[in-house]
Amino acid sequence: MKLLGILIGCGLAAGAASNNSVLIRGADVYPVTSAPVKGVSILVLDGKIAEIGAKIVVPKGVRVVDGKGLRVYPGMIDSGTELGLSEIEMIRETVDTGELGEFMPQLRALAAVNPDSEHFAVVRIAGITSVMTFPAGTGGGEGGGGRGRPPQYISGQAALIHTFGRTWEDMAVSGSAAVQVRFPILGPPGGRGGPVPENIAGLAGETGAVTFTEMTRTYQQEVAKLADFFDEARRYQKAKAANLPGFVRDLKYEAMLPVLDGKLPVAIAAATPRSIHDAIQFAEKQNVKIVIMQPRELGSAAAELKAKNIPVILGRVLALPRGQDDPYDQAFTLPGEAYKAGIKFAFGTFDNQFVRNLPYQAATAVAFGLPQEEALKAITINPAQIWGAGDQLGSLEKDKSADLMVTTGDPLEIQTQVKHVFIRGQEIELSSKQTRLYDKYLNRQ
């Protein structure tokens, strides 16, 4: 009952202002793709950025927001979430990520997005205006198919969505921005411990452990199985093109066509240089576009990613080192390494409850070697480009969607307050379930 009440409350509150034209006057504007300009105005007409300049005539009927002493940035984009699909992590009924089935490219995250999820208000008032939402769990970051559950190779289509909208159709920037592939990993079943030595292989049967030889065999079989599916999809593509008699429409293979055509990337989580290399090799062999997600170490893969111009989604910066004896700051320095290697990257938080901390993850990378401007790009223009929306989102440029955050300072600093948020030019009411509870109990009598 209580839950229902809150959901209804949110639905009403999300109404916000009715028009999507506005002039923000006298602010410091940070377009991201060009140098900041101080003390200028930014005009938004019909949800798009119309002009940035010192002397803009306010068109009739357009509301003016005083930006004096404030900064305007493009809204932030989180490249790794389950927003809209997962409400309360531990209550299965509220979680719609992780469908069953081995090859499921036809599944659409977009159509399972609950626009009234409390998470959206929490993240958009923090200045995050778009997110990638993935059909399968993205936590952990080790990638691979099926840890402790039946193996899954292809999880479905990830969507790039705005964090505001009445329906998921309103929210969609790109209903299909990537196909999430869980590339097999070379490792023991269940992902724990290492292989048993070959010379005591007899133990393996009893403990459930396996030797390295067996692990390798399983791995190769799984990769072959994934390749088979791609091959089948390609045969389907040919059959369809040739309009062969007896051709039967198949939803799984249909969903693979944009991937095979090179229009849609596969997104693959790969933690180590070896698994990154293997995933790239697979994508090359299949001649498909690839985005690598959640690397924990780059090492020898850095040069390969750069040379082949493969974009990377970096996972949590605030993360522990992989091994006991790895440097304590291993995860903090990884973005700086990626930058020095010349890799194009964006950040993802990969945990719904901490999506709002996206800029602080980026800031930690700055403390450990990433230039601040690059950190900002990695939560704005880079993800927009990586996910195929570089012409719509990610920077303050004429004709782009007016997704803006107006702040009191550097958005990567925790103490900075977000004063206004606009999504497609519409000003968002800065309230969430959390601000409402705060107001209620601060003034409890």
Partner: protein, 446 residues
């Protein structure tokens, strides 16, 4: 790996064994304002703090020009340095077990916590049962043995737990963390209250037996002493105010329940841990004089965390509660300074009040504020030095001192990495050569 760190630190230690002056720093004392100046350390204690100080003889000087010194961070809720499982969950009341018996001083999390500016942590039993095991406070004296890590003189504690976690074992539908096949009482919040009351009831009777025995002895009689009960002994100490209760809780109903149970048995809960709905009953918590130790912004990971708000810490502080921000996580533990900054963002705490939530406030909650938690003459020289303003993610910890000894130095850590990589490589080579040959001297056939 660890050994090499100890060697590196041992080499540094003599430099810092006696008198140290940290100078040209911005010193955020927490209790006495922020100033530009120096901290003088003598024999492990802070001797003087000021813009101008008396330079002691033979002092090692740390030039912290442009840098910031804060009191070593105190984490009021951690499970690091515990060997194995933190939960003795087979019984509803596990007060007989003690975390002190399973301290692992070689846990790498200790070094990583140091690298995040943490000098002291409250090491707790898990939350699988309404009354859990005994707890203790450690200093992050990396390289020392278990005994050497214990915060000498700090009051021992015991873990209580309310809500989803302790009732999970009794829930036939299980859920994450439910490992038992047989249900264990309790399965509801009602049962959690009852379990606590039953145990306290027993403890009260047990205490009465011992009080009577003591009275007889005092009268010169020679009675037979009661049998010592290892489960009830720590609960007797709770009733006597000799052991702190740190109670895991989420929802307002259970928070209020525990405060009333404590009232009925005549003791005080020392800290409410997590206490995510503490903001809803802040007046009641404040009136009871109970401390609150919470997360900055965790929410929605389970239903009892769905009403969690990032304003919780600030709101509780505004209503007069002593509030700390904790980690309960070996990664988060490494940046509690920025967790404090979130209390400025959410709820508008000032810089000092925010920083207090990870320094002097947890010290107060653990009863060690006479020793640590602020930069004042006479206190332990437990300090963290940052390269930049520490309430920001742009800041890095440069040095950490405990008892005036250098326990973390970023420059040494970074410069020592090539040598450690080499050492690791040598060990791997050695291991390869010492591998026993396969049985029969043949390679296994694939």
């Amino acid at each position: 790996m660890r050994k090499s760190w100890i060697v590196a630190l041992a080499a540094l230690a003599p430099l810092y064994a006696q008198n140290i002056v940290i100078q040209n720093a911005t010193i955020m004392t927490v209790t006495k304002g922020t100033l530009q100046g120096s901290v003088v350390i003598k024999d492990g204690k802070i001797a003087e703090v000021g813009e101008k100080v008396m330079m002691p003889q033979n002092a090692t000087v740390i030039d912290a020009g442009g840098q910031y010194v804060i009191p070593g961070i105190i984490d009021c809720h951690s499970h690091i340095a515990v060997d194995g499982n933190v939960n003795e969950g087979s019984v509803s009341v596990s007060s007989m077990v003690n975390i002190k018996d399973v301290i692992n001083p070689e846990d790498i999390a200790i070094y990583r916590a140091l690298a995040g500016g943490v000098t002291t942590a409250n090491i707790l039993h898990g939350s699988a049962n309404p009354i859990g095991g005994q707890t203790l406070v450690l200093k992050m004296r990396w390289g020392k043995d278990a005994q050497g890590m214990i915060f000498e003189g700090a009051m021992p504690g015991i873990k209580f737990a309310l809500g989803e976690n302790p009732k999970r074992s009794g829930n036939p539908q299980g859920g994450r963390g439910a490992t038992q096949t047989a249900a264990r009482y309790p399965a509801t919040r009602m049962g959690v209250e009852d379990t606590i009351r039953e145990a306290l009831n027993e403890a009260k009777d047990y205490k009465a037996e011992w009080d009577e025995y003591g009275a007889k002895v005092a009268r010169g009689e020679h009675p037979i002493p009661p049998r010592k009960d290892l489960k009830l002994e720590p609960l007797k100490e709770v009733l006597e105010g000799k052991r702190y209760v740190h109670a895991h809780c989420y929802r307002e109903d259970e928070i209020l329940m525990l405060l009333r149970v404590a009232d009925d048995y005549g003791f005080k809960i020392r800290t409410l841990q997590h206490v995510l709905e503490g903001y809803k009953v802040a007046e009641e918590i404040a009136a009871s004089g109970t401390g609150a130790s919470t997360f900055s912004d965790w929410w929605a990971y389970k239903i009892e965390a769905y009403d969690a708000i990032p304003y919780n810490a600030a709101l509780m502080q505004k209503k007069g509660i002593v509030v700390s921000l904790n980690s309960d996580d070996e990664e988060l533990m490494r940046h509690l300074n920025t967790e404090a900054a979130k209390a400025m963002k959410y709820g508008g705490m000032n810089e000092t009040d925010a920083l207090a939530m990870v320094t002097i406030n947890p010290a107060k909650q653990l009863g060690i504020d006479g020793r640590v938690g602020s930069i004042e003459a006479g206190k332990d020289a437990d300090l963290a030095i940052y390269d930049k303003y520490p309430l920001s993610d742009y800041a890095k910890v440069q040095k950490v001192l405990i008892d005036g000894q250098l326990y973390f130095d970023r420059d040494s850590d970074v410069s020592g990495r090539p040598a450690k990589a080499l050492e690791k490589q040598k060990l791997i080579e050695k291991e390869k050569q010492s591998q026993p040959k396969p049985a029969g001297g043949r390679r296994p056939v694939e």
